[in-house]
Structures are given as structure tokens and as C-alpha cells.
């Protein structure tokens, strides 16, 4: 969305969250500001045969979250999260019924779509891989919805009464940041005034755990699950798989003002880059992430000195933590050392495509509360990671501008800039 910025401005007027450690925006912020971790031994399936057996799981009860039995049966967990978070965001913003359906859209991000259902359905229709059953009506009647992830956006469109642009943006683990950038673009370009957007992933299932085992990207610190996610710490040895969802109501600023909506933050800048280097690897220099940060700040018309908080990708792989630290130094210069940088993956794990949205929610809430969430489990930094990572304890800190960065498989590197709510024009 670099360059389109004249005229229409885009703000967040509603937030909904389903996270490990709490369903709901308030519970989520309590967890983050307390520096509590929500990582534990995998309980969603029997992970005993796998190398990495820790994850950050959501305590999610579909009925308690307001879903019907039919919805809980029909929808993959990813869609269930998205619907519950969207309802919270819509209620928070009060936008339902106040936006013209033709001018209303839905854009969701996801890395894994309905992987959990596809994994279990595959096991069902193939008798656990032993024989392929050619009875095409064995298995869920909703297989096609699991096949194409846009089914999640379609479900939300009805809930949001959206008849404008609807779709999914997927960029692996940067999806949650890139979908916000895309949705904000659509509003700026005039395709919509209101877009419900965010990202959801719930892929703690055998196939996901197995594929990260195969590349040893996840930690095998199975004996101490609560402290297994250790971004920037010298003892970190891989990420902890997570799940969750954050959904926002994005709104054109004047539209929000006309209905006197409460504004959390302005989506001021976004940029994405490909590293064109490796589907999984990162070069040490962090050039592409640095360029994404610079471009996003340019779009938001900010100097590096104006950044008050960086929500790091901080996945707790050695490769990421060093790449990211270098990228921040390259893009923010000497200011990188003065800005608090934290990774909430230390508390809620890495929920793949969803995490960028959860991190953006953390930025918006950090702006609201003037508190920087900490990096939990950080006792001694990797000597090559020498920024201020806000170890262990949240910090009071006024934030006018927050930067969220993300890095993902496929080589995607992205940055999103949130500004504190703009002052009223009056």
C-alpha cells in the first residue's frame, strides 16, 4: 500500500481475539501485560511419537464461545476462531448496521486454512493411510469448504453483512500483517469503507507437527513446556507452534468519525518484500525485511526516531532472531537500540498465519494502555541479539507509533505501522 496514501485514512475501530491463554480481547491483554506464558504439552492429539510436543493451545469451547452444534461440526477450528473473533470485533466497533453492505468487505489471512480437518479427514477416508477408499461419500460433507480457505472469508461475509470485496490473503507466516495492509489498501483505493480483517490459524495437528519436526524448526524442549518459547535468549532452539486468531474492524477515518466510533489506532503504513533467497532460509543481512520497514515507515511519513515500539517476529529460531535484529539495525539505524522490541511469541507461541494479526492486536492494545508487553523467558540474550527486548516484565511506555514486523516461509518479509488515534479534525 505504499504510495496510495493521499486522502482516505484507515483506522481500527474494533478488535476481537481468540488466543492461547484466553478467548477475548481483555483476557488476551491480561496475559500479555502480565508476561504469562500459555505454552504447554500438546493436548489436541497424542503427540507422543513426535520430536516437538509443546504448543500454545487455545482453551476454546465452541458452545461457550457462542457457536451452535451445527457450526462446531461444520466449520474447521480455524473458521470457528475467525467467527468468534469477528463477532467480538463487530460488537466492539458497533459497525454492524451502520455500514452500507456494498461498501463493506472481509479480508482474512491464513497460512494453513483447514489443515486440522483435512488431516483428520484424510485419516478417515484412507483408513489411516492404509487403503484409499473410493467411496466418495465417506468423510465429511464439508470437505470442499476445507479444501479452499476462502470458505472462511465467505462465512464471515454473511456475519459482517459484507457485499463488497471478500477474500483471503496468504503469505505464510506474514499473512496476518499482509492481510491488514491489503485491506487498508482496498479502503484507501475506495473499494470499501469498512473491512473486517484479520487472520486465523489452528493447525496444531499431526501433519503440521511432523513437517516442522522434519526441519527441526520447532523446539524439542518438551520437559519444560511453559518456558519453551525463548525468543532472543541464548538458550532458544526453535519456535513453539501456536494457534489463534485476531480480527479487526478497519474503517475509513471519516466513516468512523461520522458514527462517532472509538478508534484504537490508524493503519499508517505497510510494505512487503520477498527475499528471493530460500523458501525457508533467511540471509543474515536482513536486507529485505529492512527495506519493508523503511518502505512502511516512508508511507506512514515517519522517521525511524519516531518509532516507539517494535513488535518483533521473534520466533526463537537462531536464524530468525539474528536476521531480524540485523534488519532492525539496518532500517532504524542507531535508534534500534533505544526502542523497546518484544516478542509475544514467548507467551503465545507462533500461530503461523494468525500471529501477525495477534501481534497487530497487541500493538493496538499497547498503544491504548501505554504498556509494552514483554518478551517472556528471556534471561540472557544471545550475544548477537543486542537490542532492548523488554525481558520478562511489561513496561509502561507511551506509544504514538508502533511497528510490527513479520517473516515467513516463501521468503516473505513484511512490516506494518500503527499510529495512535489521530486527533479529531475539530
Amino acid at each position: 500500500m505504499e504510495g496510495i496514501s493521499e486522502g482516505r485514512r484507515v483506522v481500527i475501530t474494533g478488535i476481537g481475539v481468540v488466543s492461547p491463554g484466553g478467548v477475548g480481547r481483555k483476557q488476551y491483554w491480561q496475559l500479555l501485560s502480565a508476561g504469562r506464558t500459555a505454552t504447554r504439552t500438546i493436548s489436541l492429539f497424542d503427540a507422543a511419537p513426535f520430536r516437538s510436543r509443546v504448543a500454545a493451545e487455545c482453551d476454546f469451547d465452541p458452545a461457550a464461545a457462542g457457536l451452535s452444534r451445527r457450526q462446531a461440526r461444520q466449520w474447521d477450528r480455524t473458521t470457528q476462531f475467525a467467527v468468534v473473533a469477528a463477532r467480538e470485533a463487530l460488537e466492539d466497533s458497533g459497525v454492524l448496521g451502520q455500514s452500507e453492505p456494498y461498501r463493506t468487505g472481509v479480508m482474512m489471512g491464513t497460512a494453513c486454512g483447514s489443515t486440522m480437518s483435512l488431516d483428520s479427514e484424510y485419516a478417515l477416508v484412507s483408513d489411516e493411510g492404509k487403503s484409499w477408499l473410493v467411496d466418495e461419500f465417506h468423510g465429511s460433507p464439508y470437505l470442499y469448504d476445507y479444501f479452499v480457505p476462502s470458505s472462511m472469508a465467505a462465512e464471515l461475509a454473511w456475519i459482517c453483512e459484507a457485499e463488497g470485496p471478500v477474500g483471503v490473503v496468504s503469505t505464510g507466516c506474514t499473512s496476518g500483517v499482509d492481510v491488514l495492509g491489503h485491506a487498508a489498501d482496498l479502503i484507501r483505493e475506495g473499494h470499501a469503507d469498512v473491512i473486517t480483517t484479520g487472520a486465523s490459524d489452528a493447525a496444531i495437528s499431526p501433519i503440521t507437527v511432523a513437517c516442522f519436526d522434519a526441519i527441526k524448526a520447532t523446539t524439542a524442549r518438551n520437559d519444560t513446556p511453559e518456558t519453551a518459547s525463548r525468543p532472543f535468549d541464548r538458550t532458544r532452539n526453535g519456535f513453539v507452534l501456536g494457534e489463534g486468531c485476531a480480527v479487526f474492524v478497519l474503517e475509513e477515518l471519516e466513516h468512523a468519525r461520522r458514527r462517532d466510533a472509538r478508534v484504537y489506532a490508524e493503519v499508517a503504513g505497510h510494505a512487503s518484500r520477498c527475499n528471493a533467497y530460500s523458501m525457508t532460509g533467511l540471509s543474515d543481512d536482513g536486507l529485505e525485511m529492512a527495506d519493508a520497514v523503511t518502505a512502511a515507515l516512508d508511507m506512514a511519513r515517519h522517521d525511524p526516531a519516531e518509532v516507539d515500539y517494535v513488535n518483533a517476529h521473534g520466533s526463537a529460531t537462531k536464524q530468525n532472531d539474528r536476521h531480524e535484529t540485523n534488519a532492525l539495525k539496518r532500517s532504524l539505524g542507531g535508534h534500534a537500540y533505544d526502542i523497546p522490541v518484544s516478542s509475544i511469541k514467548s507467551m503465545i507461541g507462533h500461530s503461523l498465519g494468525a500471529i501477525g494479526a495477534l501481534e497487530t492486536a497487541a500493538c493496538a492494545l499497547a498503544i491504548e494502555h501505554s504498556v509494552v508487553p514483554p518478551t517472556a523467558n528471556l534471561h540472557e540474550s544471545d550475544p548477537e541479539c543486542d537490542l532492548d527486548y523488554v525481558p520478562l516484565v511489561a513496561r509502561e511506555h507511551r506509544i504514538a507509533t508502533a511497528l510490527s514486523v513479520a517473516s515467513g516461509f516463501g521468503g516473505f518479509q513484511s512490516a506494518l505501522v500503527l499510529d495512535a488515534p489521530p486527533r479529531s479534525a475539530a
Binding site: A214, I215, K216, A220, S278, M279, T280, G281
Partner: protein, 88 residues
């Protein structure tokens, strides 16, 4: 080092080809033992796949960081054969 190495260069090359493909610019049938895997066109993912296959086919358990430790075919062969010797 096992006295009778059971895992040979040829076996390694066959598995590399199968698990990770082959870079057209590299002659895997040439003298590759001391060339870096990266110069042979193989990144860590290629090696993860190959190592996992070796562990299964030869019933050996290789060190956790084998992909980081073995920078060349010779180093990987040594680790595999040491593993095989240990197993026997």
C-alpha cells in the same frame, strides 16, 4: 570410524538425488567428497530430507545437529558409518 563402512558415497549420492534432486551445474559422479554441500547445491532442507531417509533406511540415529555438523559428503559419511558401527 567403522572398520567396514556400509554406507558408501554412491549410496549417499543416490539418496541425495532422490530426496533433494540434482543441480544441473554439479557433477555428483565426480570427486565430491570434500566439497561443501552448499557448493553441491544442497541447502539444509535438502540435507534434512536426506538424513531422515538415511536414518530410516539404515536404522541409525544421527546426532541432533547432524545437518549443522556435516558440511561435506565425507563428514556425513563418517557420521553415518560411526552410527552404523555403534549400532552393531
Amino acid at each position: 570410524m567403522a572398520p567396514f563402512p556400509t554406507f558408501t558415497t554412491k549410496q549417499l549420492v543416490d539418496l541425495l538425488r532422490e530426496c533433494a534432486g540434482e543441480d544441473e551445474a554439479v557433477d555428483l559422479d565426480g570427486d565430491i567428497l570434500d566439497l561443501a554441500f552448499t557448493d553441491l547445491g544442497y541447502d539444509s532442507l535438502a540435507l534434512f530430507n536426506t538424513v531422515s531417509r538415511i536414518e530410516r533406511d539404515y536404522a541409525v540415529e544421527l546426532p541432533e545437529d547432524v545437518v549443522g555438523e556435516a558440511g561435506t559428503p565425507r563428514q556425513l559419511l563418517d557420521l553415518v558409518n560411526a552410527g552404523i558401527a555403534e549400532r552393531v
